[in-house]
Amino acid sequence: MAATDPYDVLAVSRDASQKDIQAAFRKLAKKLHPDLNPGDAQAQRKFQEVSAAYELLGDEEKRARFDRGEIDASGAERPQRRYYRDFAEAGGASDGYSQTSGFEDFDDADDILSSFFSRSGRRGFRMGGVDRRYRLEVDFLDAVNGATKRLVLPDGTSLDVVIPPGAEDNQVIRVAGKGEAGAGGGEPGDALIEIAVRPHPFFRREGLNIRLDLPISLSEAVLGGKVVAPTPSGPVTVAIPKGSNTGKVLRLKGKGVPGRGGKRGDEYLVLKIVLPDKPDPELEAFVSRWKAGKTHDPREGLKA
């Protein structure tokens, strides 16, 4: 981008005061702001030039650096900005901002004319509606198993969103035609619903698999037995093998998250031996009589 001298752009002298520069900018901005000149296609380019010049000269420190030649007028390229006028006219009465009060007194001009205006004339030019984005929080199990959730839109209408089984955090669901209305018979935009999955108190999700710490009692660990473990699709009975240690992992095949093509992940149970909350005299008496307990060293592996 060719760097025009910002002093020329704002039409101020090089020794102008900050106040003069501000006044010059305001005068030009009033004339050139694209949203104050909705019909002027040139306004946008000119306003951007003026804004860039003011950004440089309006800040005393930047201006001094520019005067010393430390920075040039091209500055940093600003991200493309969209002006309000790009949206406002297309929306007609449906955008919630534009008003018809500018021609309500046309009533006596001509019946056909006034009825044309008062139905907000959404005819003649077509424009597709803009997509609307939403964020929907869903419970962990609703995401895993699938659910239908009702979303109340800003205009008061509601939308039933089908959460597919196995939905992931940040997944976006598109509901066709539920965005903003189009203009002049244009297609409405879509609703894009981003799913935010709430964490679960004890299930953890790893891809299509579910992990769960499963507490077992000392006697279940030593003697084995059948225990009930929760899964996303309901409780199942699991056989704990004799002599199961803390950290042992049991796999429940097909009890994880439904994936594409009928595939289903697994649930992994990580066993955790839990002693009774209160000290138990019988257990203490038994363990103190248990000889092997005194010679067994579970920290063998930690020795250097």
């Binding site: 305001r26 309000y84 009060s101 004339g121 964020r135 800003p154 903003e180």
Partner: protein, 125 residues
């Protein structure tokens, strides 16, 4: 990406209290409902305009309110006018010619009969 309050503030380079004031003044429509927020790109562009006005352009809040109101009226008018132009444009050339010529020299008001004062017959829309 979802445009929530934080994203709106970031994109428009404005503080949360200012955005809140604009929403309370009815200048920006706030999203409603729980568990989600949703400003549109249009809301962002409008907030940008408000920031330009209230910031570097030095317009006070009362002025911003007047300007927004007029801009909203202009867009309503432009929208209707564009629709009308397109409708006229779709007419036969002769009808079009009569409409534009009448628009440049409007026939007398409704109280006078059409054709009095030797006027042209009024175009039929």
């Amino acid at each position: 990406m979802t445009i929530d309050h934080a994203e709106m503030c970031r994109r428009v380079s404005v503080g949360r209290p200012s955005l809140q004031r604009w929403i309370e003044a009815g200048w920006i429509h706030a999203p409603s409902g729980d568990g989600f927020v949703a400003f549109s790109e249009m809301d962002v562009a409008r907030a940008h305009l408000i920031r330009d006005l209230a910031g570097p352009m030095g317009v006070n809040p009362e002025g911003v309110a007047v300007i927004l109101d007029l801009i909203d009226q202009i867009h309503g008018l432009r929208h209707a006018l564009r629709g009308l132009s397109m409708a006229v444009g779709a007419q036969d050339p002769e009808v079009r010619r009569r409409i534009w010529s009448d628009a440049a020299h409007p026939p007398s008001g409704p109280s006078r009969a059409a054709g009095a004062l030797g006027g042209r017959p009024r175009a039929v829309l």
